[in-house]
Assembly symmetry: C2
Homo-oligomer: 766 residues x 2
């Protein structure tokens, strides 16, 4: 079959403008009526207006904002029919160019029946690039089988401030970890390793979001300015994007925030200078939802907003009105028609890459395979297991068979609180799901598990007996139990009653929602109401294990003083209850904190890789970085970086692709095999630059047999040993201290790594 | 008399190195022994080592760090003798080149008997450039009369995070206000308006500190990194320095922090590229205390640290060991000798400018006039009056004659808490001093004023009855009084028992010190102990007026809910008690908040001039900027910006020095004349840039007769209407909204100002 493959210039102006506009909310373009898909007048009007469409967002989207649920949405197994109804209409009434189907998939496809994965921050705790790639491939297969072409995927944002409600969408505060996992995600979802690879019918194109610096927003406020400098941008915020570009990511989504005053959607230096001219990447840049309309403070009218964005390098809008003014903008001479054609060419290029245009390449299967949900669920369960981080354990863990448990706290039996934002409604029944309560009850027997909620997330429970009655119930449940497990934290729950902003962020009163887009918190301390639950349990005289299920780093100082054991789990997804139960019972939890947990409210922002400073810290806080990235209690396991002599690699070699091998020996003195992540930390000594205290150079998962040792090799190349000051790795002579143990500063036995010049020297020693 | 005027090149290498090293702590160079000054071996060794000295720091310094007090320091009236002893030794045993005498004078000369002024943040509340200039001139006369040549003066740092202990040393969070006041300070102290003006015998040279971006340190931690971009640096942090350079400031002190990774003392782009090559300034750059030694993380050895700093543009060290390695650095080829000569030339140039070299110009008077303390004290009192900001007043103020008062709280009768950091010990007796308690007792009669302390600043009072007993005393004092005045806040008190860092910042346990260098706080909420005092007073059933004497913006949300009236006073100096009493009694307080007071801990950083953002703020905080810069309750006074039509000025005219006149009409409906500051706010509408919500364009003091009106003209020129993105003002077509009322966003009657291109157009309208 041959499909049309037009060049941009051959299309009428209005069709070209239609190719770069993605105005519709897809669930309004097609409705499920009487068991069949019907395209709506909304779609008809839009197709008539442009003579075709570039992309349609969210035909399958189901969540409270879209108001799509199991009662009115597209049945999962009939997704392809819904898409086909739209595609048939677009191609029949437009210029014959197929439309792109775009969906959200930040942690699984956000559609009815879509498998929900642990959030990115949970994958960050697992630090497992291979599993991340497998998960991504499974999600892509699920999505493409339904007919989706393009997945919008979080992963570029670096978690620099936990007040930000979208912290859960970040992999880490560390750019190297975020880069490794977003690259794995792109490889898995697209099945590509470079920009020249086409995307086959088992995969989807990825638009990675957000570009750039959204994690640096002032005060962690969503979309606030990121007044960062070039080096900070290059070393921290651009690294994930660079990694994604290198494996051929199809697109980037421009962020809401400004970088040093210039909004990302109007940022030519970023969207053209950096990613295209310097990196040589040539995919599609999509604006974030209504971001071009939001240029209204930066342009006097919509045509100017559209021209600004197009000139900067935005190729495709999302829900914007302004981008429809491109015709006027061209007429008024605000932007050249050639710039429009450049954008149209990129959109068509993506369709070509997906096999939607021309004679070659694949396409969405005519007869999609059944949704392969089972495999994804198993993989998601593995990822949830890896996300469990044990921080403290005063001999209370593992729980022992036959113990009687009290399982208390607001998140003990709340599936929603495990899921994260951007999640479709769960099916009923929901056999894959477990809460900590149900999972522990299944393991210990319902008669051995007592339950009390104790409080809401941010305040006492309502009800006739009020908060104190609920705390009495906690006390009663804990009394006589051997151990109390208090399940605390936050939730990104959205309800069909919430109010939303025009971009889907929660905007209205959501009294007990603490996380997700639009839910930024000034205080990340665990709320007093939750501490009261722990105090009530404590007063019963039993050991308390706190399990914090949350989407952001929390200040846990007060909690740690109250409990015997502390377990932290970034939103682990539907099977998170079982993951936690397993970790509590088998003592092999392997997650590490994917970001620094602050010692207190008021110390933010704080990260393990801030530059050296001469300050003593705050006089009213003990230790600033008490729980840095990488924190994990891993009993019986020891890591040792092999070798003592300085290791040397020429800078010129690095530039040519050489690598330096370092080996970490991991010993397991325990009686069961262990799987864990092995981090390699480094400090760069570079004349004239204040070094970051510690950076993650690389991390690998390893498996070590009981009583055995595993040698974990690291091949450190340009990415790990080069400078990222400009947003791409550059080889230069430098000296590093390298270690694998948890110290915030290089320990005395840190290995020296010398990246040398042509004379075998480094500037640090000369 | 003719003094030597050598060129740098004519001096031996070691002498040149001696000219750029300022290693000594001056109080260790000369001691007051048996009623006469004696130079010490410390000085002798140093002079022998170099064959002369460039500068000596702190011969007169007196404070806990130097351990100099009234019992062992230089008597004020004999300062010239102490200096002369050093100068005679240096010139006799060196190459005959006089040494520079350098002293701290951030708010008055930090020497025994030096007049202590309100801190800079208090001057920021007054917003009175003329008075600031007068004060500076008075301090300079006092210092030069003693023999001081160079004053180290805070004023460049912009208060972007109130957690920073040095917030008190900033004039404001707003760069235009800081720039106006630092320029006034330099004009007043130096008696210059440009770099070509010499500094006469009634004035001192100013080294303004710190350059640059220290106010942007992460988390408000002292000396932490400032990872800001060029536009943020140019628009916010460089403006005060640019203003100081323009009026010919003699020197800048390079800051501890890095800017986007490059330590200021090693920052060639800043210290040479920006301030010298672009601004055309050619004064002396002094390193901050031990800052070159602190380059140890950025250079492999001291010689490299020295070379880095010298190459970057540092001309003079402070207490450093590393800069003495310059000979080695030159020998090893790490830096050219010509670069050293450049620095030596600048140090000699400053001596020449001060009249210390050659046949022309003045010198330190041979027979110094008596210290003119009286005038300074009166001026300082006026400044303290202007610093009093009334935030809330529910009809409780003014206090009425005949009322009985309870004056309570930890700062009610604590002179130290009014003074700020960098303060010499007070004389005994201290007739110029007053606390709120003593000043109110003087006005109302001691029998009408009851007193109780109630708490310490950060916790309950010690003592046999503990905190609750002290609170009972508050309750008792308030019971039966007509009004309770609770004096709260913070203190920068240092004691002779404190521990200090090598640069004089407080380092050891200072349990009740809350402010000053080295005392950064994670929580800027008013401590619970102080709220308890207010609650105790409140429980007695009387109206409560809270007076917050502090050096930093505080989160006052909880306090405001407890009190009837709220008065905020940045550390007002020794006469601050009387200033507060007057303001409480006469109802004409005129101060405005010089920085945004945050609604809560956890919202930081926050400023009135952050860029527009789309976020809703935090879900757990009501209004982010409830008390923005400029906040003041000014009863009976109304401000109106004259004119409704757009006002136009050509960009080309601005570049040539033209200005646009706008007039604010101030009406005073009251029965007494009023003096107040009149702010002009603006928002720039510039295509492609996200505007700052509101900026202070300019501010002027005005006096308005009772029942009358005053027309306050503003001539807006390049500084006010140009772009500061590059760190210096540039004229470009742009549209602004301008207003003078307190709204955070342009009100509907904001005046449009058009800066036009050659066609009479602005890009915002096209």
């Amino acid at each position: 079959m041959t499909r049309p493959d037009p060049s941009a210039a051959a299309l009428p102006l209005r069709t070209r403008i239609g190719q770069v506009n993605q105005r519709l909310k897809g669930w309004e373009a097609v409705r499920w009526v009487d068991g069949a898909p019907r395209v709506t007048d909304v779609l008809r009007r839009e197709v008539d207006r442009w003579g075709g469409l570039g992309a349609v967002y969210g035909v399958l989207r189901a969540d409270p904002w879209s108001a799509v649920h199991w009662g009115n949405g597209v049945p999962p197994e009939r997704s392809a029919e819904a898409y086909a109804a739209v595609q048939d209409h677009v191609t029949a009434y437009g210029d014959g160019i197929p439309v792109l189907f775009v969906e959200e998939a930040p942690h699984g496809l956000m559609a009815l029946g879509g498998t929900t994965l642990p959030v990115n921050l949970a994958l960050g705790a697992g630090m497992d690039a291979d599993l991340t790639e497998e998960l991504a491939a499974a999600v892509a297969a699920e999505a493409r089988a339904r007919g989706t072409h393009v997945a919008l995927v979080s992963g570029l944002d670096v978690l620099r401030d936990p007040r930000w409600g979208r912290a859960e969408e970040c992999f880490s505060e560390d750019p190297a970890l975020a880069a490794a996992l977003v690259a794995a995600t792109v490889r898995g979802m697209q099945g590509t390793t470079s920009a020249s690879d086409s995307i086959d019918a088992a995969h989807v194109a990825v638009v990675a979001k957000h570009l750039a610096g959204q994690g640096a927003g002032i005060g962690g406020r969503n979309g606030s300015g990121a007044p960062v400098g070039r080096r900070e941008l290059g070393e921290i915020h651009l690294r994930p994007a660079h990694a994604a570009a290198r494996v051929g990511v199809a697109g980037f989504m421009a962020a809401y925030n400004d970088v040093d005053g210039v909004p990302c959607s109007a940022n030519e230096e970023l969207l053209t200078g950096t990613i295209r001219e310097r990196w040589g990447w040539d995919g599609v840049v999509m604006a974030d939802g209504t971001a071009i309309d939001r240029l209204r403070d930066s342009a006097p009218d919509p045509a100017r907003s559209a021209a600004l964005a197009l000139r900067a390098g935005v190729d495709l809008s999302l829900w914007d009105e302004a981008f429809t003014h491109l015709g006027t903008a061209i007429e008024r001479g605000l932007v050249d028609e050639a710039v429009l054609d450049r954008a149209v060419g990129r959109v068509l290029g993506l369709k070509r890459r997906l096999g939607l245009l021309g004679a070659v390449g694949g396409d969405a299967p005519e007869d999609p395979a059944p949704v392969p949900a089972r495999d994804v669920v198993a993989l998601a369960g593995r990822a949830a297991r890896q996300a469990v981080v044990v921080v403290d354990d005063d001999g209370v863990l593992p729980l022992r068979p036959g113990q009687t448990l009290a399982v208390v706290g607001p998140n003990a039996d709340d599936l929603d609180a495990q899921l994260g934002d951007y999640t479709p409604p769960r099916p009923t029944p929901d056999p894959a799901a477990s809460t900590v309560l149900t999972a522990l009850a299944a393991r210990f027997g319902a008669d051995r598990v007592r339950h009390a909620t104790g409080s809401r997330l941010r305040g006492p429970l309502d009800g006739p007996t009020g908060g104190s009655g609920a705390l009495d119930e906690v006390r009663a449940a804990a009394g006589g139990a051997d151990v109390c497990v208090a399940v605390l934290g936050g939730t990104s729950r959205r309800t069909y009653e919430d109010e939303f902003a025009d971009n889907g962020a929660v905007a209205g009163p959501a009294p007990d929602t603490t996380n997700g887009e639009g839910v930024d918190l000034s205080s990340v301390a665990l709320p007093e109401a939750q501490l009261d639950v722990v105090r009530a349990a404590r007063s019963a005289g039993v050991p308390v294990v706190a399990v914090v299920l949350d989407g952001r780093p929390r200040a846990l100082t007060a909690l740690r003083e109250l409990v015997d054991a502390l377990v932290v789990v970034p939103f682990p997804g539907p099977s998170g209850g079982e993951a936690v139960a397993a970790a509590l019972c088998d003592g092999t939890a392997s997650g590490r904190l994917p970001a620094t947990f602050p010692a207190a409210d008021g110390v933010l922002p704080v990260a393990h890789d801030e530059r050296m400073e001469t300050a003593r810290g705050y006089v009213d806080v003990d230790v600033l970085r008490r729980l840095p990235l990488g924190t994990a209690l891993l009993p019986d396991v020891a890591l040792r970086l092999r070798g003592a002599e300085p290791a040397t690699v020429p800078a010129a070699g690095l530039a040519d692709g050489a690598a330096l091998r370092l080996v970490v020996d991991v010993t397991n003195a325990g009686t069961v095999p262990r799987s864990l992540s092995v981090p390699l930390y480094g400090r760069r000594h570079e004349p004239g630059i204040r070094p970051r205290r510690r950076q993650l150079l690389a991390v690998r998962r390893a498996t070590v047999p009981a009583g055995g040792t595993a040698a974990v090799p690291f091949d450190l190349g340009l990415d790990e040993l080069g400078s990222w000051a400009s947003g791409e790795p550059v080889a230069a002579p430098v000296t590093l201290s390298v270690w694998c143990t948890p110290e915030p500063d290089p320990p005395s036995d840190a290995r020296t790594v010398r990246v040398t010049d042509q004379n075998g020297a480094t500037p640090w020693e000369r």
